[in-house]
Point group: none
């Protein structure tokens, strides 16, 4: 029994942190940071109250770890995609935003983005991390693409930062919406196909960004 136990524990030791973070992600997203109790997280992870403290120093550290673990690779993905690419910026922009929607926006991770917005003020250090490693890097990708389009003449020259705002905002707001009002009974404005709507909004911005000679069809 003790050997089996030991073996099991050995194995658990490797996976516990991830299990705890998964549980924490779900609960933070569902109920917010304050309303999530350590005990909830522990139970959701199949352990008891003390266990999270074996792996994380505090509730705050769990939040930090969740953010760190879950979002960084998504950003890295996009950086790789954008580096290996040479073609029309508009096409890649569309591609990347829709990929972000598929990988993050429609998943629980979107809730993490909303959580960061909600809690940024309370966790400055974490906010800085998120700002530098998620926001700035994502915007840098977008900005580079926008700028290259402007430079190549494919896009109308103008304020690149503003263009990035216009491109990203609909996606971000959709993510935030899904984890705020959309969760409230009575506010479920059923957006049948959010992705399609997102695409339409994006298309509008890209159209505004592009030179058009004719608009006839």
């Amino acid at each position: 029994m003790s050997e089996m136990q030991a073996a099991r524990w050995q194995r658990r030791k490797e996976v516990r942190p991830a299990e705890i973070l998964d549980a924490a992600l779900g609960l933070f997203v569902e109920k917010g940071y304050s309303a999530t109790k350590i005990d909830d997280i522990a139970r959701a992870a199949g352990v008891t109250k003390g266990t999270p403290y074996l792996y994380f120093a505090s509730k705050e550290e769990i939040l930090k770890a969740v953010v760190r673990e879950k979002l960084l690779e998504r950003v890295a993905d996009m950086e790789h995609l954008s580096h290996d690419y040479s073609g029309h910026p508009a096409v890649l922009i569309r591609l990347l935003l829709l990929k972000w929607w598929d990988d993050v926006g429609r998943t629980p991770l979107a809730g993490l983005c909303k959580l960061m917005v909600a809690e940024a003020v309370n966790f400055p250090e974490l906010a800085r991390f998120y700002h530098d490693e998620v926001i700035m890097r994502s915007r840098a990708i977008a900005r580079r693409l926008v700028q290259s389009g402007m430079d190549s003449g494919e896009f109308v020259a103008g304020d690149a930062e503003a263009a990035v705002d216009a491109l990203l905002s609909p996606l971000l707001m959709t993510m935030i919406w899904r984890h705020s009002f959309a969760c409230v009974a009575g506010c479920e404005t059923d957006r049948e196909d959010p992705k399609k709507r997102l695409e339409a909004a994006l298309q509008l911005v890209l159209a505004g960004l592009s030179h058009k000679t004719t608009s006839t069809s």
Copy 2:
């Protein structure tokens, strides 16, 4: 001592509620709902712990009152403006969004919008109120204008809801940004002129929405 006492012992029934709500607005916006203690609100309003309870039943009711008091008239303003208007929708859309920026976006009220996003899940009743009385009414104004533009041929026909998303999102995200990351030391990506940037993003969307015959000059 007696002067201080005397100063402390003012009976100002008429103005207390407003003072308390102002104090509450500032603190809720600055620190979030949970992190704001009733005692903080009281002190900021120049009264003591018990006084807020003379006017509001609970901390939650204070939040509700803040939201109710502060945002409704802004929405009503916009409805009036949009009703009395007959001209190019694009012009009014620009006008209204920039007005919202001036009246709300760059003021502490923007923090209230961010707060609603952050706390919607925790205060469903309040969220419904905000959804119905602020969000839906605002979107309705925008949708009407977009639709009339599409009907008149001034705008390219398409998904009106998506167009509303595209138009409003940059404004909303700017407001949210200002009350989340922008408050964190190290994240103050100095946006010298947010209004100008907002205008540029808006211009982009309106351009995408408009028929253009030539883009050259």
Copy 3:
């Protein structure tokens, strides 16, 4: 106006204390001491929160005044009755106990007796007053009658104090009952005629106290 006012106030000044004590009696009896708020008393008396403090120093003083005002004369009544009497003790005992029932037991004053029991520990000074002026004087009357019965041979000789206990307890318990369990929904063991039952119990004790030669068979 000011003269009328003054006149009215003059008159009020005389009756206010009594009005406040009446209101307090009702509420103390109904809800208990702790659960009765000064504000309740004031409103029930048709005045506002500050007014009771013009006449009484504190909530506790109101309770004391209520007890003092309301019960003393009842006791004095009985003392008079018992002094002016010469006849069979058993008859007077019956008379006095039934009178106490009519004057106190079935009125709200019974609630005051129960209140004293409930709060004696919390208000020792008041308890002492009640003990000396109500309990001891009442028992003294009863004891004198019992003793005279024993001395005259009308009653079986024995422990006079115990006889007093036996005589008074059913009355006291009935009073207490009416202001404790009888007020609770679900416990209203409907005692159709409490006075009749009281009489029967009393009869039993008096029978036990009396010499009986035959009980017929």
Copy 4:
């Protein structure tokens, strides 16, 4: 310091609830419900403020548990005794009442009975429980005995409920007395032997209840 700490940090899940209830019983009886702070209970039980909440949901639940735990078995005892018995009702009545005195009346449990009287109005649910499980069951035992005595001709026929009142009231009032006025300095009418006095009172009632042919001594 470390020894004190260690002593403070004992894990005794099994015994804590009982310790807390014991402490609570003592304090409730001594000071009343309102005047007893959770912190007092905790300290008296040798734990800290939070610990009672590990075992009981609220102060009210502690009171309920105290009543439930402590009195039910006493009632059950009496039911057993009365069932297994066949003899003169008067004898058993005397026995049971004196047993109740020994088991409850002269112990702190009597304080609980007084507390129930004092707080019945404030805790209707608990009052119903006590009414059904303690009062009614006790009275049922007494009533059965009285009735059987009346049926067998041992007792004078009459109002059985009134007889129960007469039999129980002296005991109840003695219990109540001991936990109200008797606790107040200055009211300690020293009843040298309360049991003896109780017995005398009881004897009186039983005498009144019995057929007597001769009263000679």
